[in-house]
Symmetry: C2
Subunit: 342 residues, 2 copies
């Protein structure tokens, strides 16, 4: 691993530097080539840095930013109003080349708007998308995009999402010629809305993409596809539904076990067997959605992420830097365009 | 309970009369006022009726239908080609008044197309919707619609779905002034696509409906809403995602418990505590989606339903007959139109 630098929006999320500073500490310990720039309110960050004994750390730098994008601020305010926000300053570090990636737990809408404005989209890509990995029953990961960056999408946009997802799965997950599917209400060709049907035609005609057809909601975790493409409305509702249901099951299981002293004892005995099975489903492992399609790497950590989850978002950024994801997307797009022209 | 008659499409689903006949037997035993008409291939039904000792049952009748809509038949074939299908004959019994409801496990697309053509939509309703009840953490039920009858929906259609869902929740669940929400990518007014935003305005302006705002995927099971409205694409993907994830959790739990003899013993001890907790989530309990908005009652049972689940679909039909759901929808719609005109 070469030296690499990541800018952290230290103020984002529900916990700000309380989470980002300990996560930075863990990341610096884990990756000897990693340099971190913490961007945010110096007065808030400094005591935490001292507490984590990072004040003299040779690979950590703090850059002061006087403003913070609040979780409920409108994207327009972040864009036009807050000229010295920690999010903006962190993204500017990526633009200038001082950092190779930005990680933020902040306001998603603001992060998308600022990223698009500051970093710009890759040539040939119309709109960036938000993408994340989900566990599947085959023990691997399935990428789902878009998670809400684009509420309505035409067929060309869905095609570009498929292409970007394919690159991420291949380069980050090491999945050879990843299987791409479109999320739909049925598997038959006649099913779905016009955008999805037209995107299916575009994907079927492209030899650079291993398009496998439509996939339904119940196959999200089956491993039938390595990348599942949907518009931002459907993708967002789908992901949040999964989060809600996973939480519900966990609650039901815990309340079954906590019913009385006997079930608590029995539950304790079952724990060593249950834990590894359920660990694969732990949402912290999947923290770090990538804002893909930009001329730079931006990772969105969950607003409620604790330091362990935030660390996973930093790890996602490191992987994307190492595998040069934006350049790979450009290469893939060029190959597709060459094929179309020939 | 007055006498009532339900027509069963005996041939539908993956198992046809193997499931519908035993379910009919259970329903006849449970409800002394219930009459059932089994519609389908007499040669296939008769041996099963004999086996269930129903041959002389005073409240059971068989009507022969020479054709069956296959699970993968196109709706157009069911509509134009199969003139004597069990599904069509069962729906015609509702149209003629010989039955008050039809229950089918058959091809969803065909059932929707035939129902719309034979029974017609209620006055003032543009399109029927598919609606089902989901469990929520408050121990109650939340209705979700549309589940796929209408892939794209404008704001007026979403408004009508909200109205129909409100009637079902009030009349069938006994929920006073049910809380209605629109499924969206965020709770803020500015979030979502044009249809959803416009539907929110229509619902906010209507005093007959207890509209509570947007709801996100993670709150599907929270009980924050009694009825959640989405277009058929989003509703279908959401429901199927839940089905897939529920199955995955069950598998993970079972495989944790089946790891070795020790965990199997411990799992056995935990079973009496786990079972009632998880019973509330059993999908069989929620079998029976209603095709709402028609001049008659049509219940869609899951294609893979076993007799216990099919029985629940029959129970759903009985409830809708008793509560006169179609007439109640018309009344509610009239009240809404009166308010708009005044």
């Amino acid at each position: 691993m070469h030296d690499l630098t990541i800018a952290l929006d230290a103020m984002g999320g529900d916990f700000g530097p309380q989470v980002s500073v300990p996560a930075a500490q863990q990341a610096l310990n884990l990756f000897p080539q990693l340099h971190i720039i913490l961007v945010g309110n110096q007065a808030e960050i400094d005591p935490l840095i001292k507490h984590c004994q990072l004040s003299q750390h040779p690979r950590l730098r703090v850059i002061h930013a006087s403003e913070t994008v609040a979780m409920n601020d409108k994207p327009l305010l972040a864009l036009r109003g807050l000229k010295d926000s920690s999010m903006r300053v962190a993204l500017n570090l990526v633009k200038s080349g001082d950092a190779q990636a930005c990680v933020s737990s902040g306001n998603t809408g603001a992060l998308m708007a600022l990223s698009k404005t500051i970093l710009k989209v890759l040539p040939g890509i119309d709109r960036p998308a938000l993408i994340t990995a989900l566990p599947n029953v085959q023990g691997g990961h399935t990428y789902l995009l878009d998670l809400g960056a684009n509420i309505s999408c035409d067929a060309d946009t869905l095609f570009q999402f498929a292409l970007m997802g394919s690159v991420l799965s291949e380069k980050v997950e090491g999945q050879a010629f990843p299987k791409i599917a479109l999320l739909n209400v049925g598997e038959e060709e006649t099913k779905g809305n016009d955008q999805v049907k037209r995107a299916a035609q575009l994907l079927s005609a492209c030899s650079q993409i291993n398009y496998t057809g439509f996939i339904e909601g119940h196959d999200l975790f089956s491993g039938k596809a390595d990348v599942i493409v949907a518009d931002g409305f459907v993708g967002n509702v789908t992901l949040k539904t999964c989060e809600g249901l996973a939480k519900l099951f966990k609650q039901q299981l815990i309340s079954s076990i906590n019913q009385n002293w006997f079930t608590r004892c029995v539950g304790f005995l079952l724990k060593p067997s249950l834990k590894p099975q359920l660990a694969h489903m732990n949402p912290d492992l999947y923290n770090g959605a990538s804002l893909i399609g930009l001329r730079g790497i931006v990772i969105k950590s969950h607003g409620s992420a604790q330091s362990k989850a935030f660390l996973n978002a930093i790890k996602a950024a490191i992987k994307e830097i190492e595998r040069q994801v934006p350049a790979q997307i450009t290469d893939k797009l060029e190959a597709v365009l060459l094929e179309r022209d020939s």
